[in-house]
Amino acid sequence: MNRLKIFIVEDDLFYGELLKRHLSLNPDNEVYLYKTGKECLANMHLKPDLISLDYGLPDISGLEVMAKIKPDYPDLPIIIVSGQEDVKTAVDLLKAGAYDYFIKDKNTKDRLWNAINKIRDQVKLKRELNELKEEVSKKYAFRNIIKGNSPAILQVFKLMDKAIRSNITVSITGETGTGKELVAKAIHYNSSRNKKPFIAINVSAIPGELIESELFGYEKGAFTGANSRKIGKFELASGGTLFLDEIAEMDANMQAKLLRVIQEKEITRIGGNDIIKIDTRLIVATHQNLSMEVSKGNFREDLYYRLLGLPIDLPPLRHRGNDVLLLAKHFTSEFCAQSGVKTKEISEAAQNKLKAYSFPGNVRELRSVIELAVVMSEGDVIEEKHINFSASNITTDFLMEEASLAEYERKIIKYYLEKYDNNVVLTAKKLGIGKSTIYRMIKNNEL
């Protein structure tokens, strides 16, 4: 591990030098000795991992030194080593954020040594955590997790880029399996909040009576079974992002409470009186049409406008043209790598089969189809026979919409146009209809 940088601030040259030499016995310590508070403050750019600070300094007191350091380095452990056996001073310093308070006596050496070892472990854990966070950020670089070149997905990338650069609430809509949570994570881990938590909660998966305690937390004794304080998701995600999936499922009572939190930027734990300020970015998602839910009276209009923020509508896979193949190849590589086999090719017939399918389960379904195909194919090529779609009846799914024949015709032509990159000649040929039919529909804004 990297060395632990320790500042000793001690006006007694003899005592300071002794501490420096003592702590330097551990080669993992890099110890600096300063005689005054000002000297210590002037060297803060060296970024110490901890400070051993004498309370009674000749220029400024330990309390003042700490007050100047803490705003810029709130997590830096400062151990006060003092000759003052004054309980009030000790309490004041601990309240002001000191890590510990030691009286200069026979035990100082051992206490300091032990405290430093404890801090060393904490610093090591913190460094490892930061490295992991960096890795997660790289993993969620959105070009790494959301593959595609279609105009529809490129538009999504543009909006995500805007979301990353701001703090605006983001509302993600899209059919099931389009990757709403992935988009939310990518926005968080690429934003300035990426060092703080990303907390996801599926509103529809939590019973209505529990959602409030999940979001806001509760105090001990707030209700039967509340045996200890619980911190809610809003508080946990403070400084970071809270992702509320399936927001349309939230009941009316909870919608009112959520609206208040968004407006006031503060929460109160259930059974508590303290008002807790929060700085939590909200990203919400739903597979439903939220404005429709507002019209039906199922969702509060005021909350809808508060949550709308930057809307990102994720296109269904069937509207993403050749992204189907790009994703299929990406998943093939991923699953082959996981199985430790050479990346398989996808035969032309298998590709055509994939392109012809509507993927009601979107990217999630494609991923499963490819996972199975990789397993089923024994050679280096995934053939048509290895591509198996789910048991659901595609025709029945399509007919579930109960549209008119003209509407079905319009949808089919629109689908094929998107599939063949708006190539009217090719679309007409594939569907066995005249080009003029398509041109007429385009002219009449039917497509």
Partner: protein, 118 residues
């Protein structure tokens, strides 16, 4: 030094991992800085500068403690406390003189012990 008395260098040895070179260097540092400190303390006593008497006594206290000299430690602690209460300067000055004479003897012992280190 009475052979039954604890070594003046016990704590220093604990701090410095029994390294004779480092122990000698630290003893030399104390012997070099102590005269200034005691002279300053006397000066503040004559000037009735309680705040600085307290500060200097406080600083000397931790060094004296590190040499295992209990009587001198108790005396310098008393000086610090009296200065805190702004007690009679004559009393503080008398105690400082006593402390100085006690320490003169102690310094000889410390020096001797340091020289005996292999």
């Amino acid at each position: 030094m009475n052979p039954s008395e604890p070594s003046r260098l016990t704590l220093l040895k604990e701090y410095l991992g029994d390294d004779p070179v480092q122990i000698k260097e630290m003893v030399d540092l104390f012997l070099a800085t102590y005269p200034d400190d005691i002279n300053t303390l006397e000066k503040y006593c004559t000037e009735k500068d309680y705040k600085n008497i307290q500060k200097t006594a406080h600083r000397l206290k931790s060094s004296v403690h590190l040499f295992n000299i209990e009587p001198s430690h108790d005396l310098i602690l008393k000086i610090e406390n009296l200065a805190k209460k702004s007690a009679s300067c004559d009393e503080i000055l008398n105690l400082t003189k006593r402390f100085k004479s006690m320490m003169d003897n102690e310094l000889k012992i410390i020096k001797k012990e340091s020289e005996q280190l292999s």
